[in-house]
Amino acid sequence: MEGLWTTQVGSLPKPPALAKARTDFARGKLPQTELVALEREYTKFWMDFQNELGLDIVVDAEMYRGDMATYFAETMQGMEISGLVRSYGNRYYRKPIAVGPLQRVKPFTLDWWQYAQNLTDKPVKGMITGPYTMAEWSYNNYYATQEEFVLAMAAVLHEEVADLERAGAQFIQIDEPAVSTRPEDLPLAIRAMAVVVDGISATTGTHICYGDFEAIYPKMLEIPVDVIDLEMANRDFDLLDLFKRQAPFSKKLAMGVVDVHSHVVEDKEQVKAGIYKGLDVVPADRLFIDPDCGLKTRTVDEAQAKLAVIVAAVKEVRQELGLDNA
């Protein structure tokens, strides 16, 4: 039996030179061609790192994305970007606004996925933000109801998923972090996801974080994807107890075993203990191991160290279990 595949939730840190280039570009001090050249350079940097480390399923690292909602909104017809709004403390962001009928004018991520896939023999995961989250994290100044907005977004995102599959993506992740914030909307999120993955045969997954899982479990198992990816490390693996208490976790589980909000790099034994907790609830052939969330808020060194400890811990557990991919 094979099992315990290693992967990532999505983003990786932008090295300081790229962060500076993005600022310079925004201020009109750097031409776009130079920014894109740097984005490609650092995508390759992360692809090389993931290859060398031996992750099973890799990501394109999202060097070209600022934020997970705005990036898609910027390239979509029918969406505009607002002035600055406060997120917390002294942090501000620009929030997308629906201003007309949504339409995809060109692929959002396909070029980057292809670029990344050409740099590795490992499967590169297609990564997009889900329709419920896109709508929830935007203003709606066009659609009569939030439901219409979400479903229109789902139709647009379906085109991207279909393109990724046609290009050869074996894994496609449609992130819905907002799903856990308003449990009563879960049925809408499920319907929207069905639109996104309609007719898709690649392995599909979704990442959900924060929030009130007590209120959405086990109903969240109805989200029509193969893999659900959840943060575990920063909540002391309490979700596993919820699964034991409430209902068996019937899908494949991608389990976060390192905390992406902490500078401290977990040690190998700690990570192994977390993996064994997961194995208590889901068998190895349905279990993926990854960080809690995207690592973009960590430094390059921290992110690399956190990924390295995951790979080292998984390797040992695979051997201890006698898995065929040990």
Binding site: S87, Y88, Y92
Partner: protein
């Protein structure tokens, strides 16, 4: 019938030079400017947002809560006993606050809103109300820490904030607004008995006109809500649609802040829709007891949109006044 605002106003503007406070906080965090310099910028932004509310035509304004990091931290952080911790989502919004934790007994250590209020009032041409986040919301959205149960933490917080209320009352404000969003949040309504007791503790001996404002939910299922010891109540009619069912029994001798402008979306309400909803409410509540308002603080919007929404609301209130006159 008047117009008012819930509390916070966007701290930065998108025009050139509109980000003074953001820059000052960033410089302060890096140790490049002193606390006094940051405070001076906060004061000047306060004057600016007071001016904007006045220009929009709002009748009863606030200081914009320019110094507040969020609705919870500024109040908790100024009481003794709360330590400010990690980021956590604020209700179902896509904004976050730093969650306080009670690490020692909660106590009042002197007034912290009085200076803000007096400064703002002295720079305002219109009546200006101080706003206090209530003890239940502060305690409920914090971690219990050394406290064994929520009730004790809420009551200690209420005792501490009672002192702040008295200190504010001594400055003779036009009214004091107490914000308690947590009690109408659908999952917290079981705490109603604790809440009621906390409001008695909070209001004990407070000699001022007071209003209890709620948002993010409705006050249904909270028996005798309007019998709480306040002269007025604020309801969120956008995210608490069920509040409509409470209007027909609204007491004649209380004021109502009607939160009907959606401060979480940029879409402009049509004048017609606002006039219609206000007119409906005046069948049950005297126009003279009614204040029209956005449903939540304006910081969920870009500054320019917030201003446009306020202007729009003021025009609609004028129309509604004519309609019911």
């Amino acid at each position: 019938m008047i117009s008012t605002v819930p509390g916070n106003y966007p701290k930065i503007a998108n025009r050139p030079g509109g980000q003074a406070l953001r820059r000052a906080i960033s410089s302060f965090d890096r140790g490049r400017i002193a606390a006094e310099e940051l405070a001076a910028v906060a004061d000047s932004v306060t004057v600016e947002v007071i001016g904007e509310q006045e220009r929009a035509g709002i009748d009863v304004i606030t200081d914009g809560q320019v110094r507040w990091q969020d609705p919870i931290t500024y109040v908790a952080g100024n009481l003794q006993g709360y330590e400010i911790g990690g980021l956590i989502r604020y209700f179902d919004t896509n904004t976050f606050y730093r969650q306080p934790e009670a690490t020692s007994t909660i106590a009042w250590q002197g007034p912290f809103l009085v200076r803000d209020y007096e400064f703002a009032r002295d720079h305002a041409a219109k009546p200006l109300k101080p706003v206090v986040t209530g003890p239940y919301s502060v305690a409920k959205l914090s971690l219990l820490g050394i406290y064994a149960d929520l009730e004790t933490l809420v009551m200690d917080t209420a005792k501490a904030l009672n002192q702040e209320m008295k200190a504010l009352a001594a400055t003779n404000p036009v009214l004091i607004q107490v914000d308690e969003p947590a009690i109408v949040w659908h999952r917290y309504k079981d705490d109603w008995d604790i809440f009621r007791e906390a409001m008695d503790v909070l209001m004990d001996g407070v000699d001022a006109k007071t209003v209890l404002r709620t948002d993010f939910g409705d006050a249904t299922g909270l028996p005798d809500f309007f019998a709480l010891p306040f002269q007025g109540f604020g309801l969120d009619m956008v995210h608490g649609k069920q509040n409509q069912t409470l209007i027909s029994d609204f007491p004649d001798d209380r004021d109502l802040i009607l939160g009907i402008i959606d401060a979480r979306n940029v879409r402009m309400e049509t004048e017609e829709a606002v006039v219609d909803s206000v007119t409906l409410v005046t069948q049950h509540v005297a126009a003279g007891r009614l204040a029209v308002s956005p449903n939540t603080g304006l910081e969920f919007l870009p500054r320019e949109t917030a201003y446009d929404k306020l202007q729009n609301m003021v025009h609609a209130v004028k129309k509604a006044q004519e309609a019911v006159a």
